[in-house]
């Protein structure tokens, strides 16, 4: 099973691909896509192409997204919401939102950048739930 963990942070879509191996998993890919211009149709189309490329390459069975509120003080920014919309509209697999509480219950991943940890943990949280 391939689980693509995703976290939106400012103008970045951070992702980590976990591939299950027996009872465990390995990190197959970790990277980030950027979207700076949120009101440029060309920039949004380019970002959508990058998302398609990611999904074609990663072939996820499930996408685990770190949940961010759409309203309130802790709400996601415009770029994050647009990136999330593009990812949801492009994905052909199941998508699960993972709460901060579940993310915080997971340990850090080794050998990845600090900014990839939330995406990694989102993927691990979904992996643990499925493995139960």
């Amino acid at each position: 099973m391939n689980i693509l963990g995703v976290e939106f942070n400012s103008k970045n879509l951070n992702y980590v691909l976990l591939v299950s191996e027996g009872d465990g998993y390995k990190i197959a890919q970790a990277n980030r896509l950027e979207l700076t211009e949120t009101r440029s149709p060309d920039a949004l189309r380019a970002f959508q192409n990058a998302v398609k490329t990611l999904l074609n390459t990663a072939r996820p069975d499930i996408i685990a997204i770190k949940d961010k509120p759409e309203s309130g003080q802790m709400r996601a920014g415009a770029a994050a919401l647009k990136m999330e919309g593009i990812l949801l509209a492009t994905a052909e697999c199941e998508v699960e939102f993972v709460s901060s509480k579940r993310i915080n219950a997971c340990g850090d991943g080794e050998g990845i950048n600090a900014y990839h940890q939330p995406a990694f943990k989102a993927a691990v949280a979904v992996f643990a739930k499925r493995a139960r």
Partner: protein, 356 residues
């Protein structure tokens, strides 16, 4: 080139097609077979008809079958395919109005257009890879464009990765785009396609990659070359020179890129085309990620003749050549251009650095 110049059996085939199609026009660019453009009499849709020869056998219709198996907005779709005889067949695709990527490169796309085209190509290549296929011959002539959207075409070199395999035999096509490892090992993997997309991205951004192989010969190479007599020997010699340049990472001349292609973009180009495949970006997702990062850092400069022009937010800036290696920085004010206050004339690279 008119249809009368085609082989007789192709002319007969076109005669049959006249019931449904009109306005036949032979393409000058059909490298592996013949390509004829036509217009459907009912729908008015413009199509490209590709004729191909092949001995009867399982792999004879590989190209149309592979094209039909991949559905991606960045892979040329197939409309129809027909057998004409045991050795001759054809398939139809839409005719793409913008021609191939060489046309677009010649028109010098803006910096962001270049990145967006490269991203489209990476998307198409990733769709091919998702089917465990490798293109092996990605180059501007094999990417057509329709309304600015790049579509990967020419599946004549595509090979399927066998179960458990990560490489296929290398293609002998297009020596300029051959990744260095394929010269050494005769093998080719997904990272070979990454290398080719890297070279295309470099060209789209304005990098020089001459199609005349003699342009790659140094003076000493030229002296050695002049001593050779046979065509085969000469061709092999030039191939070796190109291999040597590719293997040492000197095929691209990063100095030939316009000054708005910054350090980050140059680093990304090197990562896509690293001579060592293990050091190269591993797949199209990594290419796409780097391209989005470059896009975020880049302003949309373009050439307008010999003037460098930037439209950014509500400003239009032009850097106009003065003929002495220096450029004059101007910005639009109403219908005219005026000097940018506090900015003296200077070399293009310095002015581009100072501007937003």
């Amino acid at each position: 080139m008119t249809t009368e110049t085609l082989p007789e059996e192709l002319q007969r085939a076109l005669e049959d097609l006249k019931r449904d199609y009109e306005a036949f026009e032979v393409s000058e660019r059909g490298a592996n077979g013949y390509v004829v453009f036509a217009r459907n009499r009912i729908s008015g849709v413009e199509v490209a008809i590709k004729f191909y020869y092949g001995a009867p056998g399982e792999r004879r219709h590989d190209e149309p079958r592979l094209l039909a198996s991949i559905r991606s907005p960045n892979v040329l779709p197939i409309i129809d395919a027909r057998n004409l005889s045991e050795e001759l067949a054809f398939f139809l695709t839409p005719r793409c109005g913008d021609g191939d990527l060489d046309n677009l490169i010649a028109a010098r796309p803006s910096a962001l257009q270049a990145i967006d085209l490269a991203l489209g190509i990476a998307t198409g290549a990733s769709a091919i890879h998702a089917h465990r296929l490798i293109h092996r011959d990605l180059k501007p002539a094999n990417v057509v464009c329709d309304n600015g959207v790049p579509l990967i075409a020419d599946f004549g070199s595509v090979r399927r990765l066998e179960e458990g395999e990560e490489e296929v035999p290398a293609s002998g096509h297009s020596v300029l785009y051959r990744p260095p490892e394929s010269f050494d090992t005769g093998r080719y993997g997904i990272r070979g396609d990454v290398y080719q997309v890297g070279l295309i991205t470099y060209q789209l951004l304005g990098g020089s990659l001459p199609y005349d192989p003699m342009a790659y010969l140094s003076r000493s190479d030229q002296r050695e070359y002049s001593k050779l007599s046979g065509d085969f020997e000469k061709s092999k010699f030039v191939d070796n020179v190109i291999h040597r340049l590719a293997a040492s990472g000197r095929l691209m001349d990063l100095q030939s890129l316009p000054p708005w292609v910054g350090r980050g973009a140059k680093a990304a180009l090197r990562e896509m085309t690293d001579p060592d495949p293990q050091q190269r970006l591993a797949n199209m997702a990594e290419v796409a990620a780097r391209l989005t990062q470059i896009r975020s850092d880049m302003r949309d400069w373009r050439w307008s003749g010999d003037i460098a022009r930037l439209e950014w937010k509500d400003r239009i800036i032009e850097l106009r050549p003065l003929g002495n290696g220096c450029y004059e920085p101007l910005q639009a004010k109403g219908d005219t251009f005026r000097r940018i206050p506090g900015m003296p004339n200077g070399p293009l690279s310095e002015l581009v650095k100072k501007l937003p």
